[in-house]
Amino acid sequence: MTTTLIKSSKEKKRFKRIQDQFTKSMFLLSAMISSLMILVIILFIAQRGLTPFMPDYKYGTQDLFKFLFGMVWRQDQAIYGVGFIVINTLISGFAALILAFPIAVLTALFSVKIAPKKVGTLLETTIEILASIPSVVYGVFAVGSIVPMIQTIAQGFGIQTAGGSSMLAVILLLAIMILPTITSISITAIKAVDEDLEKASLALGATTTQTNFKIVLSAAKSGIFAGAILGLGRAFGEATAVSMVAGNKMFGPTLDFFDITRTMTSTMLAGLKETIGLDYDIRFSVGLVLMVVILVSNLSINLLKQRIGKQHA
């Protein structure tokens, strides 16, 4: 009797160990899959995006230089120049950031530090709801409200617009869409500021407002900058809403804000229903350029942040 008990206990221990090894490898496998995803995305899109420029491309090798620096994009004539589109995207993204950033940071500061508690919670909930509204709904709102509004304003100045679809519409739309992102991250950053810093400032005789603007904002600087970077990335990558109000101009870059325009994302979505061959493949190339632009802008802003940090320190 005793010998059988000892045997089954040993077996149980062995089973438990093997089971542990098995589950550990399962979990490890999942973790590997998850962490490799980003690499898969970059590699596959890079590969597919570069194929039109490779020597033996099925539909006729494209000139990389003409693609990157071209100022015309015509589906019907198979002319694909993404240069002006990049400029348009940069203009719209940065303009939206310049518009949204101050409002976002001030709103964050107000809701955390200045407003009474209930108002602060109300603002935070508003931001949360705004952040969860899907892009298509923003697009419908833009086409129905912003675009006609621009049309009326333009007519008041005697400027011709294509029904209101314009660079200005894109910038306003993007500013509205990235506002919640930057605000919510700024709120988190401001909340994380050490209370002692504020108290020290007040003890030295500064008013609350001085403390808020000079101490709290500086202390939350890195978080706020992170919010700005995320917001900018979102502005560059926003697709469905932007394509509803852009207009898709064939050449550029668009410097007249009342003129129709075209961004990288609107290009990737335009005429998707009837594409074949080169026209379909070239969208991957545009996607690749988009990823590079987002990466480069992230790095530049990070560099800028470090420079500003050094100045103040």
């Binding site: 899959i33 962490s35 995305i41 603002l123 508003t126 509204i133 892009s135 709904v137 001085q210 509803m244």
Partner: protein, 403 residues
């Protein structure tokens, strides 16, 4: 001192004004969407297909008088000779249409046969209340076949009067109204199922690995950053990835081109970072004592994880699921590439379809953007998103209460 107070007041007012912009924004969006869409919103939307069907039918001989036994509304006109009631209405493009309001159970309109030449000629056609009359042909007084309905610019009242004067109706051209979201709702449901079935296990297991096994391992930060990088990728890029990387997998299942399966798999990748992050947070909250107690009782790590840690982390996992569903409902760019933009009234896993959000995109991209319908669907989406947000909030509060 005065200057300081003045500048303080100025700064504070600028801040307050900036903050009110967010509230004004939210209010404008909701007001716009409700103003445009509330009229088009109806319970029927949930059960009707999007595309309108055309029916060219022949009407059998009517059996005399059909007595009205139910109450009809004010502006509904009833033809007792043929057992059908019509009313005026406006279609989404604000054109006048005549809608069938009521069909008497014994009416000959219940036994229509298909008159369109082809394989289905002669088969039975069932029409319902809510369908549109385009034209009804009847035998006139001098034996000539004449037309009644919108085609001769008659409204509901005139059409019914014309029909009452004639004994024999020969044929009719009827349309179903369409504009429904049944197909997209089913497709969205499929999408949610597929993406959660794929993303939840992988995401939860990854979170478990990061928190239970490799917490202080030197590889852990590296794995975490590569997952965090995924959050900065625009969704349209995920669409491109889905078409490139996941398409071969769906082809193996038999899908040719865009499909719900492809869309679901792509969405699973999009959901992954959120699920991992939220699950990891909820795993961290589980007290270490629980695990130690379990070990001291002789359990191995597997048993501890599945029987002790995971159940305690369930509210967090639920939160992650709800956040995921909210993301799925709102996603559009990635699905446009992987699921297509053709509104499918009979969605099938291996064929393209539209989710609710993509249906809005498809409607807005057509020649005549149907604002009313797009806004109505937006209302539905907003309602769903709000419900998700509230659920997440209540669950998080319960989570805090426990510890």
């Amino acid at each position: 001192m005065r200057k300081r107070k003045l500048s303080d007041i100025l700064l504070n007012s600028i801040t307050a004004i900036s903050s009110s912009i967010t509230i004004v924004l939210l209010a404008s969006i909701f007001i716009f969407v409700f103003k445009e869409g509330l009229g088009a919103l109806s319970l029927g939307m949930f059960t009707q297909p999007y595309w309108s069907e055309n029916y060219y039918v022949s009407i059998p001989q009517s059996e005399g008088e059909y007595v009205l036994d139910t109450e009809l509304d004010e502006d509904v006109y009833y033809s007792s000779k043929h057992g059908i009631a019509l009313r005026d209405d406006l279609d989404p493009q604000h054109e006048a249409i005549i809608v069938i309001d009521y069909i008497h159970p014994d009416s000959s309109f219940n036994a229509l046969t298909n008159k369109t030449s082809g394989p289905l000629e002669g088969t039975e056609i069932i029409i319902n209340e809510g369908m549109i009359i385009r034209k009804i042909s009847y035998l006139g007084t001098n034996g000539v076949v004449r037309s009644a309905g919108p085609v001769v610019k008659q409204d509901a009242k005139e059409t019914v009067e014309t029909l009452e004067k004639s004994d024999v109706l020969s044929e009719a051209f009827i349309q179903s109204q369409g504009g429904g979201i049944l197909g997209s709702m089913i497709a969205t449901l499929y999408l949610i199922l597929i993406s959660l079935i794929i993303a939840l296990p992988i995401g939860i297991m990854t979170a478990i690995y990061l928190n239970e096994y490799a917490k202080f391992h030197k590889m852990a930060p590296f794995i975490r950053s590569s997952i965090e990088l995924l959050t900065g990728v625009p969704s349209i890029i995920y669409g491109l990835m889905g078409v490139l990387v996941l398409f071969p997998i769906t082809s193996a299942f038999g899908a040719n081109g865009t499909s719900i399966l492809l869309g679901g798999m792509t969405l699973a990748v999009i959901l992954l970072p959120t699920i991992i992050r939220t699950t990891e947070e909820s795993l961290k909250v589980v007290p270490q004592n629980f695990r130690e107690a379990s070990f001291s009782l002789g359990a191995n790590q597997t048993q501890t994880i599945f029987k002790i840690v995971l159940p305690s982390a369930l509210p967090g996992i639920l939160t992650a699921t709800i956040l995921g569903i909210g993301r799925i409902i709102g996603e559009s760019a990635a699905l446009i590439y992987t699921m297509g933009t053709f509104i499918n009234d009979d969605p099938n896993l291996l064929h393209g379809a539209t989710s609710l959000a993509v249906q809005i995109w498809s409607i807005m991209n057509g020649e005549q953007p149907n604002f009313a319908l797009a806004s109505a669907i937006s209302i539905i989406i907003l309602a769903m998103v709000l419900i998700m947000n509230i659920s997440v909030k209540t669950i998080s509060r319960k989570l805090f209460k426990r510890w």
